[in-house]
Symmetry: C2
């Protein structure tokens, strides 16, 4: 496929999502249009509130920032089913509908993950050949080459076909966004031996071994997620979610131990003052959930999910991720690759 770079990219932002709402999303939107002259943003949310913030920042007349008033927003604690039924004029829903209607090519939200998955699935629909959506994120590695892992929580109880489709989608993401050719794809398992793991994983492994379009390297274990052994790691949404959140837990634990040790001596207390931010950036850098956007893939449109607790920087990074996926036409590439693979399987 030949890529024609679009001269104008329009992205719809759910301005009201996340713990900080416009306090994080608005500065991120302003920074995004400033750094990217091709970027147009549609800011979905409480127009009056957003207008006030824009005025305070001196950006109320920016030609590439458009306000779209929504009367509702989805709270962080709301049940997905309730949000789907009752929040049809929410900033989240409207941002997704702009993508569905072709008025935006991607949507970014820091809101309620469950509600976003349910709404995106309902509004955008699945790509042909994909049964379930997946959350994918780029994790850090000891080799500094990002590792794509999916699913991180969109689909629980994956069968072998779903895991296989995730592998195809993950490989496309790695090829397109990281420009890797033949990324190494692995299944997350509890042992490297062929005999371990659930039936779904064993069946998926057989399917992947037989697929010539993928560079499948077999099983890896949790301790190798960050070792750079694989470029794409496939797992069930439950397992991926627990693994990702466990990283956050370990990072917090290590920070608390560093603090406690430093505080236990006089020189330590001085070091702590000097090096606190150094340690913090270092440990938080391995906490991918907090600092990278996760993409919801398998849908007929681009949706990037920023962490609920996203800062301005994290939300900006999610917007950048959406821009990359627009430029690389990720959904079209996934669709194309799935067609190729399914012909190969037939």
């Amino acid at each position: 496929m030949h890529l024609v770079q679009p001269t104008k990219i329009t992205i719809a932002l759910d301005m009201m999502g996340g713990d900080h709402g416009p306090l994080a999303t608005l500065p991120a939107a302003i920074a995004a249009v400033q750094e990217n002259p091709r970027l147009h943003l549609t800011l979905c949310g409480d127009a009056e509130l957003l207008q006030q913030h824009l005025q305070q920042a001196g950006f109320h007349n920016h030609p590439r920032l458009q306000l779209l008033h929504c009367t509702q927003h989805v709270s962080m604690a709301e049940k997905p089913s309730s949000a789907l039924r009752n929040k049809r004029d929410s900033s989240m829903r409207i941002a997704l509908e702009l993508v569905e209607q072709g008025q935006a090519t991607a949507c970014v939200s820091a809101g309620n993950t469950g509600a976003l998955i349910a709404m995106a699935h309902f509004v955008l629909k699945m790509l042909p050949g994909v049964e379930r959506p997946a959350l994918i994120s780029a994790l850090p590695s000891t080799t500094n080459q990002p590792v794509y892992m999916l699913d991180l929580g969109a689909t629980v109880n994956c069968n072998a076909d779903t895991l296989f489709q995730f592998a195809v989608m993950g490989a496309v993401m790695s090829e397109e966004v990281e420009s890797l050719s033949a990324p190494r794809v692995a299944l997350l398992n509890m042992g490297e031996e062929e005999i371990k793991g659930s039936d779904q994983i064993k069946q998926a492994s057989v399917q992947l071994s037989e697929c010539e379009e993928l560079n499948y390297i077999g099983y890896i274990e949790g301790n190798d997620i960050f070792s750079g052994k694989a470029d794409v790691i496939i797992c069930d949404g439950f397992v991926g979610n627990v693994a990702l959140k466990t990283c956050e837990g370990v990072a917090t634990l290590i920070m608390s131990r560093i603090r406690a040790r430093l505080m236990s001596s006089f020189f330590g207390r001085i070091t702590a003052k000097l090096a606190q931010s150094w340690f913090k950036s270092l440990v938080q850098g391995v906490n991918p959930d907090q600092y990278n956007g996760a993409s919801l893939i398998g849908l007929r449109g681009i949706v990037v999910k920023s962490h609920g607790n996203a800062s301005k920087e994290a939300f900006l990074s999610a917007i950048r991720q959406a821009v990359r996926e627009v430029e690389r036409q990720v959904p079209a590439k996934i669709k194309h690759r799935l067609e190729q693979v399914l012909i190969g399987k037939a």
Copy 2:
């Protein structure tokens, strides 16, 4: 139940297991009998080899170290089914049989985990009321109160009953080994809301809510494993194994980043020299798999599994864990509690 402290504790050691074999297990055995005058150890393995090592260390006539010659040993890569069939005179199998025959009250091995679980299950049999064995380990927490997590890889695809039984066993471990009264028991899930997670987890949650003998506090997520919110965390063996190994991966990643950052500046290189071991102990301290023994519970005997890569210190720590479980009569307590709970459920 009234506890009479035994005047003599006999533990059978699989001396040939683990990556380092007797090079790690023998120094640990010597240190263990030196620090505990009530402890008798039966050293199962290649008697000639072990005798040589004992002689070199000047401990060949120690009255509380007894050699038991075994002609075989289970390799780290061997399939559990093959080990079960073909390694009847292995150091691992003999150590387990000593427990079954009442000649030892616990067994410690750093060998092949899958083979140990299969053999222990076969030789020792399950306690009445327990369907499947579980691997349990004490994890560090930000509050410094150890958190018990199970299952860490013995049983994949747990149903609600199995998860419930794990909760009872985990609570007994926490009460007996940590002397906690009414430890807080939680189910690991991908969200705290009641609607999330698999059917097995939801059903287990209902069973646990109805059990008056347990202090069940509901769901927790991966980021709270180490936060001290719960004293006992219950999950399927696949999920627990991935979570535990992910901790190892994160610890390795953080160490590699600390090293890279320090090496990038002159003062950093000096700091690195001075603080390398400080960082190492700190980061490795959050890698529980490597430094604590995991207990295989639910069986009619005490089995402690040390990490395959166990050093002398790690194997010694596993022996100490076995001693604590003997002193607290953990299997009898689990049996007793299960009887109480099952009467309550009936």
